[in-house]
Point group: C2
Chain length 491, copies 2
């Protein structure tokens, strides 16, 4: 910790970049667009993974692992898919280096050229469906419910830590079903899993919706998504779940014999969330002092800072604290006792604020005498003095309260920044003013969607799943519309 962060109001973008680096979450590597996820950032990602993985398993999915490389010809088998992914992929063309004969150091060995180029997976539908062809023969083999945790590469030109990187970490679920209905139910179920994770773990309220054809995954019939609102009024797509119809089954000729002995193509879904969630988590809750982490995802939930003048005092504090630490751990609360004398308490306070530790305890000699301790909340920055007696119980409740409070604050922010508009004038005013989610009627055409995007940089984030029927007229074209959709500028 050195100088203060830029403030959000001053420069939101710089605030984010600096926060990610200073809180030890991630940094850019020497490889264009590829990030290093630092230990503290990675430990948050591990908590996300664990929670999601448990939810996938509870809904009947198993993990597996498929190859990093995709033969070029595979990518081409589904027409829309290749269209969507060919423009930004890393291509492996050779399999050996050698010493240059003219002393130029190590060079690609031209003799080691691959017959067919390999693509570093941007997503794995093609390689997985080519495998499913061998795994599925009969209705007894269905449903096939598989997930993989993996790295993927999309050669983005403009990258941003966590939000858009050339390489990122994610999970991708790929399922196969006997009927369209089952596949659609799976698509929606996994959307709900993502929404539950976002709301209950990340303390992040999300809209559940369907993408317009323009914004669909390349190769999907329907793309469902969860959309969150960041503090600068921009939307962030936090997860997607795709109903693939029979597109990939047809591209890779995956058929099954149904109960009547008839051969049918199977129905598919895919769904994913990525390290982009880290970006959403950081942006949604943090403030000008640093990270604000919901307790359920905080690597350290409680930090205890002793206030002491000499080793003897520290010994007395240590004796009292060690019981508290033991009891907190017994309850599954992660706690750090920072008794280093390399830094002053004030420095430590700022450091743990920067890192988003939800609760800080400060304990000095006076507290020991009085049987009290100072408890500071990271989210509200409020402090209270609390009896040491019963502190563990108190902290346990407090962490739950904080989790809820962070959610409530984000929810209130979203409510305050969701605005129905009834004219294009109003639409643009809101967008350029407070931003946020703009609820507007739209005529359902790609033309209008494109025009609005061109003119305002706003896209349709989704058609909300729970959108009420409400006849109206398109803010752009005046044509009739059955319900409002959600527009926003986005990450």
């Amino acid at each position: 910790m050195s100088k203060a962060l830029p403030s959000r109001s001053e420069n939101y973008s710089e605030w984010y970049n600096e926060l990610v680096k200073r809180a030890d979450l991630a940094e850019n590597s020497a490889v264009r667009g590829c990030m290093v996820i630092k230990p503290y950032g990675y430990s948050i990602w591990e908590k996300m993974q664990r929670a999601l993985d448990d939810m996938f398993k509870e809904t009947g999915h198993s993990n597996a692992y498929f190859p990093l490389f995709i033969p070029k010809s595979y990518l081409s088998k589904e027409a829309a898919h290749v269209e969507g992914f060919a423009k930004e992929c890393a291509v492996v063309t050779h399999y050996r280096l050698k010493q240059d004969e003219n002393g130029k150091g190590i060079v690609v060995d031209p003799a080691a050229k691959l017959e067919e180029e390999l693509i570093v997976r941007p997503t794995s539908e093609t390689v997985i469906w080519s495998t499913y062809k061998n795994w599925i023969q009969s209705y007894r083999d269905l449903p096939l419910l598989i997930n993989q945790w993996a790295n993927v590469v999309r050669w983005e030109m403009r990258t941003r830590l966590f939000l858009r990187t050339a390489e990122f970490l994610w999970q991708e679920g790929h399922t196969a079903h006997a009927t369209a209905g089952e596949a659609i139910a799976e698509t929606k179920q996994m959307l709900e899993v993502y929404a539950t994770f976002a709301e209950e773990w990340m303390a992040l309220p999300v809209l559940r919706g369907v993408k317009t054809p323009n914004e669909r995954f390349a190769g999907a019939i329907d793309t469902y998504c969860i959309e969150a609102l960041m503090q600068d009024g921009k939307a962030l797509q936090a997860g997607t779940s795709h109903f693939l119809g029979q597109n990939f089954a047809k591209a890779f000729d995956v058929k099954f014999q149904d109960r009547d002995g008839k051969l049918e193509h199977v129905w598919g879904t895919s769904w994913g969330v990525s390290t982009r969630l880290m970006g959403a988590l950081i942006m949604a809750h943090s403030d000008d002092s640093g990270l604000v982490l919901p307790p359920k995802l905080a690597p350290i939930q409680v930090v205890i800072v002793p206030i002491f003048k000499n080793e003897e005092q520290l010994e007395q504090l240590r004796a009292r604290v060690s019981d508290i630490v033991k009891e907190l751990k017994k309850r599954g609360i992660s706690v750090k006792f920072d008794d280093s004398d390399a830094n002053k308490p004030g420095w430590k306070f700022a450091e743990y604020e920067l890192r988003g530790v939800p609760v800080r305890l400060a304990l000095g000699m006076r507290d020991l005498e009085n049987g009290t301790v100072e408890v500071a909340r990271r989210d509200t920055k409020t402090k209270e003095t609390v009896p040491l007696e019963g502190i563990v119980e108190h902290l346990s409740t407090l962490l739950d309260d904080i989790q809820q409070a962070i959610y409530d604050k984000a929810f209130a922010f979203r409510e305050a920044n969701t605005t129905p508009v009834n004219s294009y004038e109003e639409f643009k005013e809101v967008l350029d003013g407070k931003g946020g989610f703009v609820l507007a009627h739209w005529d359902g055409t790609s033309e209008t969607e494109d025009k609005i995007k061109e003119e305002t940089k706003a896209t349709i984030r989704c058609v909300p799943l729970n959108a009420p029927e409400e006849p109206g007229t398109c803010v752009y074209s005046g044509a009739p519309s059955a319900r409002r959709v959600v527009f926003a500028r986005s990450y």
Copy 2:
């Protein structure tokens, strides 16, 4: 399950390949040398990961994530390292595909050539040490104890499921220390972690040793290893831990200011185990009926097969079994009740044998009346009839016994197949006869090591850490030797 496996004595290699495929552990993908790890195989790997990860964290390590791609120039910075890895790496040269103008489909876009080629990481020392340069300034930043779980690629020409694949999954620890002594202690500590994991989780006894210079990791000062013995008498290197000295610190100019203000290069280690452990696990314990899994790594520890003639009987069995299932789960024992009527009990017995489920319960109407159940052990293939009363307690103890028995059997096998020899004649006889570990005196030269390898295909697996001082003469050259080393043919 269809026809029987090939037997080990008939064709060990085919037995292994078939077992891996039929037990749903892994299969070859359409991409040369890359495997698909199937859900059942992956669930074993997940248990390995969890156990290892816990041990890494207990010894103070944190996880992080570094880029998949390594700039070509990085690989060249450590001379021995590039020598070791340049010959078998996947090289990314382009970042875009496009539609061919002559209608040949999708092709590499020549306009999208990278200025500097990127290597898909075969191991991450270079990219990690280039990062550490920015993370380490002072002795206060040390030790730096980081691990990453990742995929890596080495373009092997002859591949074998789990044992040698172009892409594999692994963990790689990379640590930095202020002194050589600390780095060596870390190297040895992690070797001991691997040995403990192999012995306590995989039920696999291992030799702990040091590699000869010939067999060292490219860029290391010393490579420590654990070596296990497979049932065909071949050795398998199950994990390595490298003392890197200051090699990578010098190559990437990573220095720190010590307590006296002096600038020094830091000292490094790296250590890794991979999905190769899956191959070791399978080969070490399995038999002609299929997998034998140590209970601690078995995805299903207990399977319950009901024997019934009609739905009514099944209902009665189900009622009794559901209590047992509940109680087993409460104890953390994973259990499957296979009440499907698609397959007969005999088919199920064979199937769970193939998959290595450690304990099988069979329960029929007679058992219900008698208050008994048939308990079959996978490892010994013995059966006993046991009272239903107290069955959970019985199973809990039984699983521990099986874990121990599998270890004991492997240990006895290794003891029986470890042979001290005192002449080159004897050396060759043992190698060609029973195989196994051959303990022989060696003169310490690479020349002799090379000659023996050329003539017998045996390599020095390691100089055991606990090898007693025992003066003798080299079996090949007759030159003096201070202790025996371990030779074997190997995977």
